[in-house]
């Protein structure tokens, strides 16, 4: 009999989410920001998969309803890949243009 | 000892340990053999005698090399990144070693018959990429850095056509499980996927006498050259992914000293070496699994069945024999190629991948999908290779698959 339940997974996810948010808020390097975002996305994915694993409604679900969480996480992963590609391309362009990827220094649009 | 372990972990972990330890031993032995083979074959091809001093005919030369390596001082460059430099070789080795979890050595020996086995191998091989990158970067040396970047670019590029070819086989097999794919190829070499798989040739009455062919199934014969090509592509992609000649640009000694492992010495260098050989074997084992029938013998029955022995042990041993023999032959070809072909240029490398292999891979997947949809015989998969061909129906005993059961 295992003691691990849904809240355990949610806790891990919460901690990862908080770490990601901390990274996003405190870092100045654009690549580091992206890493923080990936952590946040991973946390969300853990939640998706965890909720698809545990039955919180109390009624039996069909297979396809059960898989909704996993499907969502797969699409999140796919879109994360898109996001990373585009973001890195933008970062490279910024580097070419400004010779830095420090987000505080790339502020030409600020008044 | 056994009881102690059971007490300690609260569960019988001995099978796990065995399953984990066997590939490790295998890698060590294989590396010794492969190094020896490389030395001797290069000598043969260059009309030399090769190592002759250590042991009879120099058979102990690899052992001597290893001992020499172990004795050397482990040097870490002053400006190298301290932790990453240490971790990198192990990461590379872990990536190669993890793949052994799903390599089906015989009908009864596979560490974990995952239902995403093929996918899993492709995934864990990306850890190797990171490890190589880490090694190249952490050494803080321009040659290692270039080697690392080249290696990563090359491995990632060649993963794509390789993946397409694998996808074609997976589509035909309808499963991602390694054992599942092998089990479909039983009953003779014409059922191997290198010849188009169980549904291509076997459905033709002029070969097997069975008549489950659908109208127009002669189109299936077109699969044979296609899958031969696919095998070739996979094998070449495998060469590129292991950074072997003619794709050894990351280690090109004339340009980059020794690529990403320039700064490594002693045991860490040995571990890189080991990982490279393990990787070679993994690539060849996958090729054998996907295209060459895995542990099946080339003839309809296992030899031990012709001899009358039908026990699990004999079948398992013969499966092991066939699997390792096939893999060794492929490894041998890799070694021969190393001493035969010159190195490619970078642009040739990329041209080959993106402009030749990738379109061919696309076409392959589309043709196979069309074939599955329109041509392949509809009967359920159980009737695949012809009913009376006596493939051994193998069911692994539970102890060999400790992770499979909950």
């Amino acid at each position: 009999m295992t003691h691990i339940g849904l809240p355990h997974f949610l806790t891990i996810s919460a901690i990862l989410f908080a770490l990601g948010i901390f990274g996003i808020v405190t870092k100045r390097n654009a690549v580091m920001l992206l890493m923080g975002i990936e952590l946040v996305l991973n946390a969300a994915n853990i939640n998706f998969v965890a909720f698809s694993r545990y039955n919180v409604l109390g009624v039996p679900l069909s297979d396809s309803r059960m898989m909704v969480g996993q499907m969502a996480s797969i699409f999140v992963i796919v879109l994360a890949a898109c996001e990373a590609a585009v973001a890195l391309a933008i970062v490279l362009n910024i580097y070419k243009r400004f010779n830095t990827i420090n987000v505080d220094e790339v502020d030409n649009l600020r008044d | 000892m056994h009881q102690f372990l059971v007490d300690l972990f609260g569960q019988n972990v001995v099978p796990y340990i065995i399953v984990c330890a066997l590939p490790l031993v295998f890698i060590l032995v294989f590396a010794l053999l492969a190094i020896l083979g490389e030395l001797k074959l290069s000598a043969f091809m260059q009309h030399r005698v090769g190592p002759m001093e250590a042991g009879p005919y120099g058979l102990l030369q690899p052992l001597a090399d290893i001992i020499k390596l172990m004795q050397k001082e482990s040097i870490r460059p002053l400006k190298a990144s301290r932790w990453l430099f240490q971790i990198a070789p192990f990461l590379v080795f872990v990536g190669s070693f993890a793949a052994f979890a799903v390599i089906p050595f015989s009908p009864f020996y596979i560490a974990a018959d995952l239902n995403v086995g093929v996918f899993y191998i492709i995934a864990v091989s990306s850890i190797v990429v990171i490890g190589i990158f880490m090694a190249g970067w952490a050494s803080n040396n321009k040659y290692t850095l270039f080697g690392g970047i080249r290696s990563v670019a090359q491995i990632i590029s060649y993963e794509i056509p390789g993946g397409f070819v694998v996808l074609a086989v997976v589509m035909m097999a309808g499963t991602l499980s390694m054992q599942g794919i092998i089990e479909q190829q039983g009953g003779g070499f014409w059922n191997w996927y290198i010849f188009g798989g169980p549904k291509a040739i076997a459905t033709h009455s002029f070969i097997t006498g069975h008549d489950i062919a659908t109208p127009g199934s002669w189109l299936s014969l077109l699969l044979i050259p296609l899958m031969l090509l696919a095998t070739l592509i996979y094998y070449v992609c495998g060469l590129a992914e292991t950074n072997r000649v003619p794709f050894d640009l990351p280690e090109a000694e004339s340009e980059l000293v020794a690529g990403y492992n320039t700064e490594y010495s002693s045991m860490k260098y040995a571990i890189f070496y080991l990982a490279e050989y393990a990787n070679m074997f993994v690539v060849c084992a996958i090729a054998v699994t996907l295209f060459l029938g895995g542990w099946h013998s080339p003839l309809p029955k296992f030899i031990v069945q012709y001899l009358g022995a039908d026990s699990h042990i004999w079948l398992g041993l013969e499966g092991l024999f066939w699997f390792i023999m096939k893999s060794f032959v492929l490894v041998l070809v890799q070694i021969l190629l190393r001493w035969t072909l010159p190195r490619l240029r970078v642009d040739q490398l990329m041209h080959l991948c993106w402009k030749i292999f990738l379109p061919v891979g696309f076409v392959l997947v589309i043709v196979v999908a069309a074939w599955i949809t329109f041509v392949a015989p509809r009967p359920e998969p159980a009737a695949k290779a012809g009913g009376d061909v006596n493939t051994p129906k193998v069911v692994a005993p539970p102890v060999a698959r400790p992770l499979a059961g909950k």
Partner: protein
């Protein structure tokens, strides 16, 4: 899936494919390689240019054509940029030896892929339209149901719904096929195809495309994709998504010549003004979604018909309708937001034809038609009023414009006002009909103007004249002898837009006017009367200014004979679209009898007014006791008890229109048509007297700075100035003045008071001065600084700070409402 839907999807995706092909394979240049420079013009290797090159080499000390320019050269080019601003439609670029004739050839041949794709789309669209229109449809369903539609659930929030909200929330994606969508498919793909064809010649020279020939085609493909998405979407979310995509592609195309400041300004303006409308549209969507839980149009209508009114109150429903219509106000350049469309003419002329005349701006009308069943009586009155206001304002401005494209631009705004007016008065099919006919003749007019401008440009280019404006009608005149095909096609389109019988505009416009008349008859309110009068007034004004344009451009004596000499007819690939569109501007594609507007098959069979699903109390004409005619066959009744309550509206208006038509001789022009013919005829006559007659005054007038009413009209009723005064200048300045007053009187007063008392007290005791007063002042400063510091942290422009606020907001909201 139904074949029509499948083909619709194919039609949708093909232009996107064209977009990708052009982007990936096309040869692109970076902006740095191209510098605006009309004077130091290296030989583009046009044949005729080479002759005069010798004469100019001495003046310009120009380096060899293919030598790369140095950095100093680039700087001087930037100075010339300002000089070339007034040079209206064209960018003359200088290349650094990269865009070779081989590149040109490659880009040119590559563009045919996109054109071919549009041809395929057109063929498929025709097939889809044939299949759809020939399908009788399901008579048991309410008539706002499309012939076929398919949806898939994207998100289902059923499990998240709490006890306070009963219904489920879903987000679906889906497409539909009905007659309106099918006709729009044909219109969009047809115009897009012709514009692709036209552009292949129009944009051919490097001086026109600035090295971005394929990017132009890519953007055209992107636009077509987005527009088709709006057409076939069956839910508000997808319409909204493609709505924004259309906005984006319009932005890209308006600013295609982004080297010059004017297009940069114009595309920003278009984008920002559209956002204002889109906020309204989004709010409308959200009102419906929060209350109904679905965005699929048929479901929304079903729920409304079943009595699920937003917040249970009719004013909210009216508000939702008006807010959704706000999107149309922005996109179709209706009255308060009509300022962007004329500026959008900064884009290349084919773009103006495709986007800003024929398709995108009609998307607002299309949206209004899609949401038509949920408009209450008040909302429709609002729509009609907006349409009428737009029509009269734009038409009056068009009377005095001197720029060829500006006349057409204001005419477009005015005609869009007509369409919106038609929807507002309930003449649904007339509005859609006018949308289609207008797309044809206005695209013809724009492409024709493009043809004229192209030749003008060539001529000016040949003369090395960079001061005169190729779009100004004051430089034209007498062109019909030089460009007969362009003249004839534009004349046909002009007759069509003026509403002359035998042309398409007559049929659609008169139907609108009849609708307005019927509206006025049924509910004789002030607004209805005004709408009716404005409708007829604008008809006359349209005829006047369009013929003024024809007379000034094509008739009379050439006003600049040096330009005139070098003008000749354009090549076939440019005039062929004109001919096609001119043929489509005749009456024959739309109805058999050219004199009977109501009898065309478009109106009688293809597009039906959808039933209104609003509650009976707020339906149009709810208060008007107009008897329902017995002969009107009540078809397509919706199920449920609402059927009786919903029937009257469209039958009332159709009956009244029928009644108006039947007063004349059967099958021939009726009373509204006769009146409109009279008005249009007098407009044409006036234009002829003022501008067309040999020796007419208008022909010789060289306009100086306009005064009086003409200045008022020429400056667009000072609407732009007003907005500029109100929003950026007025409000901000007012705020600044208030703050300055506060600063000078309050803060300065305090400081001065403190200062003087300090002086006083300093004489008494220095210690007090040192410790107390200085302390006070420092405290004040410190507090201000601290406050400033705190307030500045709130908006840093860094996304990370905003993340902090978002998270804190979530936490606070959670604990506040747990």
């Amino acid at each position: 899936m139904d074949i029509r839907l499948t083909l619709s999807l194919v039609i949708l995706v093909l232009p996107l494919f064209g977009f990708a092909v052009q982007l990936i394979l096309g040869k692109m240049k970076t902006p740095a390689d191209y510098v605006v420079d009309p004077h130091e013009n290296p030989a583009h290797d046009h044949g005729h240019h080479a002759n005069t090159a010798d004469a100019h080499t001495a003046d310009h000390t120009q380096p060899a054509a293919d030598a790369p320019h140095d950095a100093i050269g680039t700087v001087t080019h930037d100075i010339h940029t300002a000089h070339s601003d007034h040079h209206y439609d064209f960018v003359v670029t200088k290349q650094r030896g990269e865009w070779t004739p081989a590149d040109q050839k490659r880009a040119y041949s590559l563009s045919w892929i996109s054109t071919a794709i549009m041809g395929i789309c057109l063929a498929l669209a025709l097939f889809v339209a044939y299949k759809t229109i020939s399908d009788p449809g399901d008579a048991t369903k309410p008539n706002y149901y499309p012939k076929v539609q398919a949806s898939t659930t994207w998100m289902d929030f059923k499990d998240l719904s709490t006890s306070s909200i009963k219904q489920s929330y879903t987000v679906t994606l889906g497409i539909l096929a009905d007659n309106m969508a099918a006709i729009m498919l044909v219109v969009v793909t047809l115009i897009s195809f012709l514009v692709h064809l036209f552009s292949s010649e129009y944009m051919r020279e490097p001086s026109m495309h600035g090295g971005r020939f394929n990017r132009f085609y890519a953007f055209l493909g992107l636009f077509t994709f987005s527009m088709l998405g709006i057409v076939i979407a069956n839910n508000l979310l997808m319409i909204y998504i493609f709505w924004e995509l259309v906005g984006l592609s319009s932005y890209l195309l308006i600013g295609f010549w982004y080297e010059r400041p004017a297009p940069q300004y114009a595309n920003k303006k278009a984008f920002i003004v559209n956002r204002v409308g889109d906020i309204g549209m989004f709010t409308g969507i959200m009102i419906l979604y929060t209350q109904l839980g679905t965005l699929e149009l048929t479901k929304v209508f079903d729920m409304l018909a079943a009595g699920h009114i937003p917040f249970g109150s009719n004013p909210w429903l009216t508000a939702a309708g008006i807010l959704l219509f706000c999107g149309a106000i922005g996109k179709s350049a209706q009255f308060p937001l009509n300022v962007w469309l004329p500026d959008a003419m900064e884009g290349p002329t084919p773009v103006s034809a495709l986007i800003h005349a024929a398709t995108m701006v009609a998307a607002g009308v299309y949206l209004t038609a899609r949401i038509f069943p949920l408009l209450t009586g008040d909302a429709m009155l609002f729509v009609a009023a907006i349409g009428a206001a737009t029509a009269i304002i734009a038409a009056s401005i068009a009377l005095v414009q001197t720029d060829l494209k500006k006349v057409l631009a204001f005419s477009t705004v005015s005609q869009l006002g007509y369409m919106v007016l038609a929807l507002g008065v309930g003449a649904f099919s007339a509005g859609i009909f006018h949308l289609v006919t207008h797309a044809m003749f206005k695209a013809c007019l724009f492409l024709g103007s493009g043809s004229v401008i192209h030749q003008m440009h060539h001529s000016l280019h040949h003369l090395h004249d960079h001061d005169r404006d190729p779009q100004d009608m004051r430089n034209m005149g007498g062109l019909r002898k030089k460009m007969p095909v362009t003249y004839l096609t534009m004349l046909i389109a002009t007759l069509a837009i003026s509403g002359i019988p035998l042309f398409s505009g007559y049929m659609s416009k008169d139907e609108i006017l009849a609708g307005a008349w019927a509206f006025r008859n049924i509910s004789p309110t002030f607004i209805a009367n005004a709408v009716w009068i404005i409708g007829y007034t604008v008809a006359g004004m349209t005829a006047f200014y369009m013929f003024r344009m024809i007379f000034l451009t094509f008739w009379g004596e050439p006003k600049a004979s040096d330009i005139y000499e070098h003008i000749h007819e354009n090549p076939r690939v440019m005039v062929a679209p004109l001919i096609v569109l001119a043929i489509l501007s005749l009456w024959i594609p739309f109805g058999a009898n050219p004199l009977n507007p109501g009898g065309g098959w478009f109106l009688s069979t293809w597009v039906k007014t959808p039933i209104n699903v609003t509650p009976a109390a707020v339906q149009p004409f709810a208060g008007m006791a107009h008897e329902v005619p017995h002969e009107a066959a009540p078809e397509a009744k919706p199920e449920g008890g609402k059927a009786e309550a919903m029937a009257p509206f469209q039958e009332t208006i159709e009956h009244e229109v029928h009644h108006l038509h039947s007063t004349g001789i059967p099958g021939v022009a009726s009373l509204p048509a006769l009146l409109s013919l009279l008005v249009a005829g007098s407009g044409i006559l006036l234009a002829f007297l003022l501008f067309g007659r040999a020796g007419a005054k208008g022909q010789q007038v060289s306009w100086e700075a306009p005064r009086g009413i003409r200045a008022f009209l020429f400056n667009r009723w000072y609407q732009d100035n007003l907005y500029e005064k109100i929003f950026p200048v007025g409000l901000t300045l007012l705020l600044m003045k208030m703050l300055a007053w506060f600063d000078q009187n309050v803060i300065d007063g305090i400081v001065n008071g403190v200062g003087s008392s300090t002086v006083l007290l300093a004489r008494v005791t220095a210690g007090f001065d040192t410790y107390v007063v200085d302390g006070l002042v420092n405290l004040l400063g410190g507090t201000a600084q601290f406050l400033g510091l705190v307030m500045r942290q709130i908006q840093t422009g860094r996304i990370q700070t905003y993340v902090v606020y978002v998270i804190l907001g979530v936490v606070v909201l959670f604990f506040a409402f747990r």
